[in-house]
């Protein structure tokens, strides 16, 4: 049920490559299933071993085993309450904020078990960014929103910050819309723009992994389209894990799909395979709309 991959050692992604601008290429999604892409072996970014999660006495995730590949989009699908958001938030330990939670097993990010006591959560969250369901810009200017992360991580020079802000906004495909009003409040933007601002905010920290928790559920179709395009573009440089309740969305944008049900990982594999030849009848029933 897991993706087998032999390359465990880390191949550092060159910095220049991460920040370079990507040209808009909507055809990219279709190319993903090409044999050439498939044959290219990719390293494992996140590896989950026998992972269980508890809210107090209630078990929310049961014995999850999974591998997530670098620079691909992995979609987590399943009916609401199935644990997909809980799982997403364990990857940067945002669940720590909820009192009375407990974990068993390992989540290995870039070769390190993030649930070891020695792990620095703050450092982890720098490497693993999170985009929320509701766009949540800070009540600051657009510029300050994007510069927030670099600033708290010690970057003070104005030129450096200016550069990061521009770069991140361009990557988030928001630069052209806001370049003349960087001083305006982030809250003055439309919902879709706010969400792209939040993505830019995450990009500015230069993470390796970006988690997205139903990032388009609060947006209209046009804004959704833009975010989806953006996700495809970003997948060239980032490992993206996205929770979605929308199966068409999962089919459109993801390379891999994991299906969760009642806290269990039922099935995980290439998106094309999951949607055409699911291995489990429960997956089939879900994606054909028989429940959920």
């Amino acid at each position: 049920m897991t993706i087998i991959n032999s390359h465990l050692e880390q191949k550092p992604v060159p910095e220049e490559e991460k920040v370079k601008l990507i040209s808009i290429d909507t055809a990219k999604g279709k190319q993903k299933d090409d044999l050439s892409a498939k044959n290219k072996t990719k390293e494992v970014k996140v590896k989950v071993n026998n992972f269980s999660f508890y809210y107090g006495d209630k078990q929310a995730l049961q014995n999850i085993n999974m591998e997530i590949t670098t620079n691909e989009v992995t979609a987590l699908i399943g009916p609401s309450g199935c644990g997909k958001t809980t799982f997403l938030r364990t990857i940067n330990r945002m669940n720590d904020l909820i009192p009375g939670t407990r974990v068993e097993g390992e989540v290995i990010v870039s070769g390190q078990n993030i649930y070891q006591p020695a792990v620095d959560v703050v450092e982890l969250r720098r490497k693993v960014g999170l985009v929320f369901q509701q766009p949540n810009p800070f009540p600051k200017s657009i510029y300050e929103n994007v510069a927030y992360g670099p600033k708290i991580h010690g970057k003070r020079k104005k030129e450096v910050l200016d550069e990061i802000v521009e770069e991140s906004l361009k990557q988030a495909a928001l630069w052209d819309e806001v370049k003349d009003r960087l001083k305006e409040s982030g809250l003055s933007l439309s919902g879709g723009q706010q969400q792209r601002l939040c993505i830019a905010r995450v990009l500015a920290v230069k993470p390796e992994i970006i988690l997205m928790d139903e990032p388009t559920s609060a947006l209209d179709p046009v804004a959704t389209q833009r975010i989806e395009d953006l996700i495809r573009e970003l997948s060239a440089d980032y490992t993206i894990i996205i929770v979605t309740h929308n199966m068409q969305q999962a089919a459109r944008i993801s390379d891999f799909t994991a299906f969760f049900l009642l806290g269990e990982l039922v099935e995980c594999g290439r998106t094309a395979q999951i949607f055409t030849r699911p291995g489990d009848t429960r997956t089939e029933e879900y994606i054909t709309g028989r429940f959920g």
């Binding site: 026998n50 009192p99 703050v122 450092e123």
Partner: protein
């Protein structure tokens, strides 16, 4: 694969355990704020400790029993000083009870009106009135009682002077009123909407619903509110000091002049020689007052928290 480890978040995890450098700093910051959080406990304990330690000389000299023995508060009597606080305690509870007789019905009526009858607009106008009342300094209220209310009382009841327990009760009642109104309103508003709907759906009128369903459901909250009002009334100083006459005799009725524990401290503390038995005994009066209000407030608090958890 074997279970790799049970970790981390067993306790509530608002603090993040880790080993990086900044975690030391974060921990220090957290500890610093915690010290501030603990301040209220330290202050309460400090009040208790200082009052107790200051009253010990008096307790040793006079004896605990004599503070509560029948008699009078006459610490400056030349031959045989007396330290009985009985009349002071009587006076305190007379004013406290009298103020509640007036403030509880009125306060609960206002709270009911605000929570159940008044429209939202009306509430917006009426609530500041209660807040303004709460903002009047006690010395101003005492002044009002002294110059305006006491002649009125004297006239109505045909007394020589209206400076008595009744006057004090009314004024202290006014002081306690905002506490009672706002807490009782909280209690009434906390009654779940479903109770209201259930009763109205059975064909009860709004008043029947209020009287038979809502007020009984909110009863313990209302009692707690009244007790907190009592706590305020018992501890009130300036109004009673100015409006009750402060006589040391045993009060017979509400038309008599009385002296409360708080007023007694206020009157005598300024003139007493430091370090004398009289001085230390005033600290004991303060300790008794502190304990009385503490117990009342704590009981009210426990009732109120239980009530909150109920809904």
């Amino acid at each position: 694969m074997a279970l790799a480890g049970v970790c981390g978040a067993r306790r509530a995890c608002k603090d993040e355990r880790g080993s990086a450098m900044h975690n030391f700093k974060e921990n220090m910051i957290k500890r610093f704020f915690m010290l501030n959080g603990l301040l209220s406990i330290v202050i309460l304990l400090g009040i208790f400790y200082l009052l107790l330690s200051r009253s010990l000389p008096a307790l040793q000299e006079v004896g605990l029993k004599n503070f509560f023995a029948p008699g009078y508060w006459k610490p400056t009597a030349f031959a045989t000083p007396q330290y009985s606080m009985l009349n002071l305690i009587r006076g305190t509870f007379m004013v406290g009870a009298g103020s509640l007789l007036f403030a509880v019905p009125l306060g609960v009526a206002c709270a009911t009106y605000l929570a159940e009858v008044a429209g939202s607009r009306e509430r917006e106008v009426l609530k500041p009135i209660i807040e303004i009342l709460a903002g009047i300094p006690s010395v101003v209220l005492g002044f009002f009682g002294l110059v305006v209310l006491s002649p009125i009382i004297a006239q109505i009841f045909g007394l020589n002077s209206g400076i008595n327990a009744l006057n004090g009760s009314i004024l202290v009642g006014i002081m306690a009123l905002p506490t009672i109104v706002s807490l009782a309103e909280d209690a009434i508003s906390a009654v779940p909407q479903s109770y209201r709907h259930a009763s109205l759906a059975l064909g009860a009128t709004r008043w029947q619903t209020i009287l038979r369903v809502i007020l009984p459901a909110a009863l313990s909250g209302i009692i707690a509110a009244s007790m907190l009002g009592m706590g305020r009334a018992v501890g009130e100083t300036m109004t009673v000091l100015m409006a009750t006459g402060n006589a040391l005799a045993k009060p017979g009725s509400f038309f008599d002049s009385v002296r409360t524990l708080s007023a007694n401290i206020a009157i005598e503390m300024g003139e007493v020689p430091m370090g004398s038995i009289h001085y230390h005994s005033l600290f004991f009066v303060g300790l008794v007052l502190f304990i009385i209000t503490f117990v009342i407030n704590l009981l009210a608090d426990i009732i109120f928290q239980r009530y909150r958890e109920e809904f």
